[in-house]
């Protein structure tokens, strides 16, 4: 029983980070109808910034703050410089439908290579701000640490902030209206372009948080967030791509599912699990768990 609970807790920790990555993908998808594969790159760059700040100041919170700011700026920059140019230039032709995807892919490559140029391809490392030692109760050890707790709390905080922004503020209403009906939003006086930029900034910041949370005590390399991108994408798809709540639930489902499989079936199934889950979701519930009526051909 205790083993089961601790597996669950680990699953929630990992899942919380997946949820954040999924959130950042969903935020962009809703505003621009593009899956931003460059998110892994933006997040890794932000994480390296956090690494630098933590190296210099020894302060994890400062590092996280720097990553969030840089992530947000980078997100906004990508939208303004790359996406706007793209949509202005490409309207038709064989590539029109796939051009945004290809462009974000190219950007992922550019950022990864730039990170490699700046920091090298060898692993870097920064420590978690609190203990990663497992809690122990008497003789039994629960493989769950203070840091895991911090991860869950941070992710929860991000989600609460988003919930408040989206549900209670007029910025949130603008974001939602622009996502679902850009034309009606414009007719309501919303500057959809700027709102989209803000959406990308939010997404960039969220991805940065995910990157900083998943990296401590592990090897940080230019491509160490690639798998997170995939797991985030799978989580977002489980949740239906359009739904913020769906992204969170999708991340948790995937995290817990993976933890259970790791615990009971073995570690070599780690990655295939995500793929199988993705396949099952797409085949059984093509709209995702939280899908609205729309199909997947958007």
């Amino acid at each position: 029983m205790l083993a089961f609970i601790s597996t669950l807790l680990i699953g929630i920790t990992v899942g919380a980070i997946y949820s954040l990555m999924a959130l950042s993908l969903v935020l962009v998808w809703r505003s621009t109808r593009v899956i931003n594969f460059a998110q892994a790159g933006q997040a890794i760059f932000s994480t390296y910034v956090a690494y630098e700040v933590i190296q210099r100041t020894g302060n994890f919170i400062l590092g996280m703050a720097a990553a969030v700011v840089v992530g947000a700026l980078l997100g906004a920059l990508v939208e303004v410089l790359l996406m706007r140019t793209l949509f202005k230039r490409i309207h038709s032709g064989a590539v029109a439908a796939v051009a945004p995807v290809i462009a974000t892919l190219g950007l992922l490559g550019v950022i990864r290579a730039s990170v490699g140029l700046i920091w090298g391809n060898d692993g870097h490392r920064f420590d978690a701000p609190v203990s990663t030692q497992a809690f122990s109760m008497g003789n039994t050890v629960i493989p769950f640490s203070r840091f895991n707790l911090l991860v869950i709390a941070t992710a929860a905080l991000v989600m609460i902030v988003f919930t408040v922004i989206f549900q209670k503020t007029s910025l949130g209403l603008s974001l939602r209206a622009s996502a679902f009906a850009p034309e009606i939003a414009r007719l309501s006086g919303i500057r959809v372009g700027s709102i989209r930029t803000i959406g990308w900034a939010f997404a960039g910041a969220t991805g940065a948080v995910a990157g900083v949370l998943i990296s401590p005590n592990d090897s940080l390399t230019p491509n160490s967030l690639d798998l997170l991108l995939i797991f985030g994408f799978v989580s977002a798809v489980i949740g239906g791509l359009d739904s913020l709540i769906g992204a969170v639930v999708g991340g948790l489902v995937l995290g817990i599912g993976k933890a259970l499989i790791l615990a009971y079936l073995g570690s070599s199934l780690d990655y295939p699990t995500a793929f199988v889950v993705l396949a099952i979701v797409l085949i059984v519930r093509p709209g995702g768990i939280f899908s609205m009526k729309r199909g997947r051909n958007a």
């Binding site: 998808w29 593009v34 899956i35 594969f37 790359l82 140019t85 793209l86 230039r89 490409i90 032709g93 064989a94 590539v95 029109a96 439908a97 796939v98 051009a99 995807v101 290809i102 462009a103 892919l105 190219g106 950007l107 992922l108 490559g109 550019v110 990864r112 290579a113 730039s114 490699g116 140029l117 920091w119 090298g120 391809n121 230019p222 491509n223 690639d226 798998l227 991108l229 995939i230 994408f233 799978v234 798809v237 791509l241 070599s268 990655y271 295939p272 995500a274 793929f275 993705l278 396949a279 797409l282 085949i283 093509p286 997947r296 051909n297 958007a298």
Partner: protein, 337 residues
């Protein structure tokens, strides 16, 4: 007169292919060995890019995971050679079939999807499959599996190098691929794909079975990628997980965009660029001091930058710019007359 001759379908293309092959053979004897080696890689890229063009340019589906199908081809060829002791030629067939099978499986699932979902799934494959190969011991782990075509036949003479032998094999494979793909694209299937790409709804109304057509495109494309993967493994003497990194899939997409996605012959241009860039990047990196991180990352940076620039400025390939330029010029000429 000339037009009529060239319009004469399959036979002409066959003759063209033979002529190309003859030219390449002669050329291979006259350039330095490094160029011959690079020529072999170009040929492999031509096949791989053709596989992307078949899928993206003609059936309108995007696959970011062509590198994964290449890996499947490479490993299945190596496995069939190791366990079944198949002759080399047959292992290539195995690679094509294995790639095609994987493509059919993925295509079957993907036929109902499009756009971002397909892109995401294929990207997941590209990132994950090499990881997978590392985890199973029968795939040889990081060292990979031996895979070799063997020495060139003695009757070609003593100074017939391995590189030249590779070049012959890959060049022949590339020519056959181009010829075959061109024929497919000119056939009924090709027309259906184009109809599907330009207007899926209308295609469906016209009685085209969209799902089946998409699966077929996926199958053929993945089969070609499998072939390219086996050939790549051949040049490395091993089927290696690290030979099929994510950046390979990126490079193929770049090559296809540079080729102009809908122009099969453009795949040669794309392939040459893909081989030339790392070479020049290395030169440049050495000039810049030759730091390891520069050498390791400059090619990737250049290829990805090129991809973005290509998508932004010549989304339908440099060929299009040329054609519209000529059209405009033609119009002007007519007007001035």
């Amino acid at each position: 007169m000339l037009k009529k001759f060239f319009a004469n379908g399959v036979r002409t293309r066959f003759i063209g292919t033979i002529a190309c092959g003859w030219f390449l053979l002669l050329a291979a004897d006259r350039v330095d060995p490094l160029r011959v080696y690079q020529g072999g890689i170009v040929a492999i890229y031509v096949i791989a890019i053709a596989s992307v063009i078949l899928l993206t340019g003609y059936s309108g589906q995007v696959s970011l995971g062509q590198g994964a199908f290449m890996a499947i081809g490479g490993f299945s060829a190596a496995l069939s050679s190791k366990y079944w002791h198949l002759p080399f030629f047959l292992t290539l067939i195995v690679a094509v079939l294995a790639g095609a099978l994987a493509g059919a499986l993925l295509g079957g699932g993907a036929a109902r999807l499009s756009g971002p979902y397909l892109a995401g799934i294929t990207l997941a494959l590209a990132i994950g499959l090499p990881n997978l190969a590392n985890q199973f011991s029968f795939l040889g782990g990081e060292q990979g599996l031996d895979y070799s075509v063997g020495d060139p036949p003695l009757r070609f003479g003593m100074d017939f190098t391995t590189d030249k032998w590779f070049f012959w094999i890959t060049g022949l494979a590339a020519l056959i691929t181009l010829w075959w793909t061109q024929n497919i694209l000119m056939s009924r299937y090709g027309r259906t794909w184009r109809a599907l790409r330009s207007n899926p709804a209308a295609a469906q109304l016209a009685g085209i079975h969209v799902g089946r057509v998409k699966v077929l495109a996926f199958t053929l494309s993945a089969g070609l990628a499998g072939l390219a993967g086996a050939l790549l493994s051949m040049t490395l003497f091993y089927a290696l997980p690290s030979a099929f990194p994510l950046s390979l899939s990126f490079a193929l997409v770049t090559g296809a965009v540079l080729a102009g996605v809908t122009h099969l012959l453009g795949s040669m241009l794309g392939a040459i660029v893909l081989v030339a860039i790392p070479a020049y990047a290395e030169l440049l990196a050495n000039k810049l001091g030759g730091a390891e991180r520069v050498i390791a990352n400059l090619p990737g940076l250049m290829i990805s930058t090129l991809l973005i620039l290509a998508v932004l400025f010549t989304p339908n390939g440099p060929g299009e710019q040329w054609r519209t330029f000529k059209e405009k010029k033609g119009k002007k000429d007519r007007q001035t007359r």
